[in-house]
Amino acid sequence: MIADKEYEILELLKVPHSTEAGYRMLLKEFQEQLYWQIRKLVIDHDDAHDVLQNVFVKVFKGIKNFKGDSKLSSWLYRIAYNESMTFLTKKKKQLQISDAELQAHLVEQIEADVYFTGDEIQLALQKALAQLPKRQSEIFKMRYYDEVKFKDIANLLELSEGAVKSSYHIAAKKIEQFIKED
């Protein structure tokens, strides 16, 4: 089903007169999924919107070079991940703070965010995630929420599958513990 859509989009983008239709279909098909993926990483809604915009700029620029060696969705996921990381790095530089401080800062923002309506447990989860090492937190979000395969996460982060699996299980146990205590 999704593979058919991906094929259709790529076919539309091959021919100049249907490029816009291709872009539209690509947006329609992936914007929501990519938005949520980004939002979980950058936390703030406005930031997620900006990053999403940058992602599609990169996608539209690079789509001609997409050879189809990987699935379109995996390629998009990778770009969204990279853009989110670039954004967080810039933010960290701007505020001149460390990774851990940035995570703490983002959690503080959540508490005041009108677009966060999570209950106590969801807020506790964000606090728990902020305390994990960066990689563990990323892996947890990808696996638990986005249900990305261990193999694909390993590919994306250039780690071994075994390392990703054990990071995930360590992260999951820590979060379980944190939530129990909270």
Binding site: R24, Y35, H45, K58, F60, H169
Partner: protein
């Protein structure tokens, strides 16, 4: 490696050490989290955000994508121009024999006509750049200070694009 003998009657299949012990633990953690946390994050978007997102994104993204090639226009034009200038300098030197002719002493309009007749140049913009009294080289001043952040962003964008291209 260990054999799980009870249900694995010598077929030769093996599992990693402590596989079943870990599997049980990991499974329990997973179930526990799903039970307590669910898969909801609590993040919300403004009302109607996704309904209008495509209309918001398309013009902005389209605009940015169109603007991008301009970045490298100067260098794209400069390469053929420099190549032609170098070639001309060689041709003129070889043809000049004992007469001392250098490129600066050749009348600009003569040179321009020659190049156009010879179809060396493929468009007006290139011609303009070539005969702008070499202003272009003055404009690209290497000592001009470039804001570090701007440079950083530019390089980062280029790097990202390369990553995209190589998938």
């Amino acid at each position: 490696m260990e054999k799980e003998n009870k249900h694995n009657k010598d077929l030769g299949f093996q599992v990693p050490q402590d596989f079943f012990k870990n599997f049980e633990e990991d499974m329990m953690t997973q179930l526990n989290l799903e039970d307590k946390l669910g898969k909801e994050t609590g993040f919300e978007v403004p009302d109607g955000y996704f309904e209008t997102l495509e209309e918001q994104l398309l013009p902005v993204v389209d605009d940015k994508v169109r603007q991008l090639p301009k970045k490298s226009n100067v260098t794209t034009f400069l390469y053929p121009v420099l190549a032609i200038a170098a070639m001309l300098a060689i041709v003129l030197t070889l043809n000049s024999g004992n007469e001392s002719v250098d490129i600066a002493s050749v009348d600009t309009s003569v040179l321009e006509d020659y190049l156009i007749e010879e179809s060396f140049l493929y468009d007006d913009a290139t011609v303009d750049i070539l005969f702008a009294d070499n202003d272009i080289l003055d404009n690209i001043s290497l000592t001009e200070s470039v804001d570090t952040d701007v440079l950083y962003d530019y390089l980062e964008d280029e790097m990202d694009l390369n990553e995209i291209i190589t998938e």
